[in-house]
């Protein structure tokens, strides 16, 4: 065997298992979901093709559209809330603009180490009609029927959940940013300061350009994570009351497993993948331009 052939065999043997596993657990389920999405399969019996019926039905369902709206709000909170806040916190700690940096680092990161289901139950109890805060408010206001009615409003019901999402996941982004900030050579920043750069100029001209790559990665994480967000919301409200806090992943789960509409659920899952890829594509294009601008 020639060296070239030996290399080819080595590549095949070394990458083969990983490729096979990837194909089994990622490629095959997506392709199979795509196939099932064009059928009305109920989990049992023959798979009968129905064309685009599932997709048409999905976009005519007000519950799905409300779930999509809620998902977009989760994306917005993740991209425009968690990431900027995580970055600001990381920057404050990195530049030592506050005392006790280690303490704050631990405290901010702590929520992410707790199971999201535990956090959801905790907050559900806080906001719920039998919760401690409700009980205290009832005592203060002398109103035994007082409850948080925000969950009973179709428009605003998702907002307490957005608050919890912001609170929990910001710490993760802070740690990612902090780790990457620490890679920037202090001498570069010192040189900028010696040259008379203000704090804002250091941030805008030195640090942000160096962080573009990681910003892109975190936004991709935030978008994909938001579109498949399920556990925290499901454990906190189950998507209710009356679908007010439903997101499309819960919609997919309920349709697929409670209703045994595997074909329809597959169509929703395909939509989530397409939407996720589409949004990431847009972010990629924006960052491509930004990179070109900084490099130029």
């Amino acid at each position: 065997m020639t060296e070239k052939n030996l290399k080819r065999v080595s590549y095949a043997v070394l990458t083969g298992p990983a490729l096979l596993i990837y194909a089994f657990i990622i490629v095959f389920p997506i392709l199979y979901s795509l196939y099932l999405g064009f059928s009305d399969w109920n989990g049992y019996g023959p798979i009968v093709p129905t064309g685009f019926q599932n997709y048409l039905k999905m976009f005519q369902d007000p519950v799905f559209l409300h779930g999509l709206r809620n998902n977009m709000l989760v994306v917005a909170v993740s991209v425009f809330g968690q990431i900027p806040l995580g970055f600001v916190l990381a920057y404050i700690l990195y530049r030592k603009l506050v005392k006790g940096a280690k303490f704050f680092e631990t405290m901010i990161f702590l929520p992410i180490t707790i199971s999201s289901v535990v956090v959801a139950i905790l907050w559900s109890n806080i906001f719920g009609p039998a919760g401690a805060v409700t009980a205290i408010l009832r005592l203060i206001r002398h109103d035994p029927r007082m409850v948080f009615t925000v969950f009973e409003n179709r428009t605003w019901a998702i907002f307490p959940i957005l608050f919890v999402i912001l609170l929990i996941y910001t710490g993760l982004y802070m740690v990612i940013f902090l780790a990457n900030l620490q890679k920037i050579s202090p001498s570069v920043i010192e040189a900028a300061v010696i040259d008379g750069a203000s704090e804002g100029q250091v941030l805008g001209r030195v640090i942000l350009p160096a962080m573009l790559g990681v910003l892109f990665t975190t936004i991709v994480f935030a978008i994909s994570g938001s579109l498949k967000s399920f556990d925290l919301i499901y454990a906190m409200t189950g998507g209710g009351p009356a679908h007010y806090t439903e997101v499309i992943a819960i919609y997919m789960y309920v349709k697929t497993f409670s209703g045994s509409h595997f074909g329809f659920g597959s169509a929703v899952s395909v939509f989530i993948v397409v939407l996720s890829l589409g949004m990431i594509g847009v972010v990629q294009a924006v960052f491509g331009r930004l990179e070109a601008r900084y490099e130029g």
Binding site: Y44, E152, G240, S258, S260
Partner: protein, 434 residues
Amino acid sequence: MRKTVFAAIIALLAVTCLAFAGGTPEPKAAAGGKVTLSMYAYNERTNPVEAPNWDYALGIFRATNPDVDLQIEFGFTEPYHDKMKIMVAANQIPDLMFLWPDKRTGYLTEKGLAKDLTPYVKGHEKEFVPGALAPQIAGGLWEIPEQVTDCHVVYTNTKLLKQLGLTYPKTFEEMVKQAPAILAKGLIPVAMDDKDGWQMQSCLLGALIERTGGKAWFDKAIKGKEGKFTDPEFVNALSVIETMAKNKMLSPGIVQADYGVAVTDFANEKAVYMIDGGWRVNALVGVVKPEQKKDIELNTFPDLAGMKGTPGSTSSVVGTGYGMSASLTGAKAEAAWKWIWFYAGPVDSAIRQGFGANPAYILPKRTDLDPLILKLIDFVNKTPGGYVVDSVLDADGMKVIQPAMQELILGSKTAQQVAAEFEKWVAANDSGRK
């Protein structure tokens, strides 16, 4: 060269396939004749009363049947069914599972995935209350009922009523008129929790339909012949719920309240009435103080104006119970039957009766039981029952009516709108209309 690469990939594939082909070994008869069975059990593991009661019975089964090893996984309410449906879709049915006699677990029983237990129970028919072993959905006997379940009971705190100078209302109008006096004392008129949605459907709507239309109308509406869910019978039933919500009769934040909030309020004497299923006696026995028990009455919903159905009725189903996978044969089927018979037969029925259940298995009359259990037995024996909605309509439809009723409570939909939405779904999808 290509051949070499191809051979290497094939070899790799073969090794991978062999590695994955092993899978998890099927539970089977182990050494010493012990049979291992997987069981998907229905029990609220966080309930401080029901979980230990279940464990107590399980301990007795294990002690008396050392040859049967039960590998148990628990589920409760909607998540139980969600997971079971996944098991059905994946063709991984547990050996033993908790089943409903009707459409609630029709996704499994109607597909022939549970074994018909008629031959097993032969000779024991007279040991059960009449109708308990009647053919279930699709004609088989898929589970042996643990009890006859009344899904609607108006638990009443007579002490609070007396303090307020009130008596149990004969009509719904009277009940509505009581609300301001109850609210003025800072109490809840009717405690209910409906975060999951099934409580309002299962514990109240069925009983209301039995009053407004009765079984005769309900049968017509199910078939869509001479009856529809837009008929006054159904709209009037929904209007009762709408009126209760408008008059602040229901628990505050009812659509946010987890199952258990209402029973806590009732046990703490913060509510005059509580609407729940008969099974709630099981929890009440453990949580209310002994002196409170004499002050708790079990009633049915007051009469409605212009009702066509049965006065004083509840909604009931021949109970749930354990069944076995249709695939079981030989020693595994025998071992599975040991559990089913233990649970629904004389041994566990007596245990459960002591904890607050009213078993379908006929037991010698006892007077030494908890007063609440005696009240439940009396209630079940004397109260006529109508349909429970989710036992006669497809489970999918509950995903329509339950959130719609939550909107009715929140005031964002009217009774007519909810009825129209439900009728539209039933007409297009329910198996009763096909």
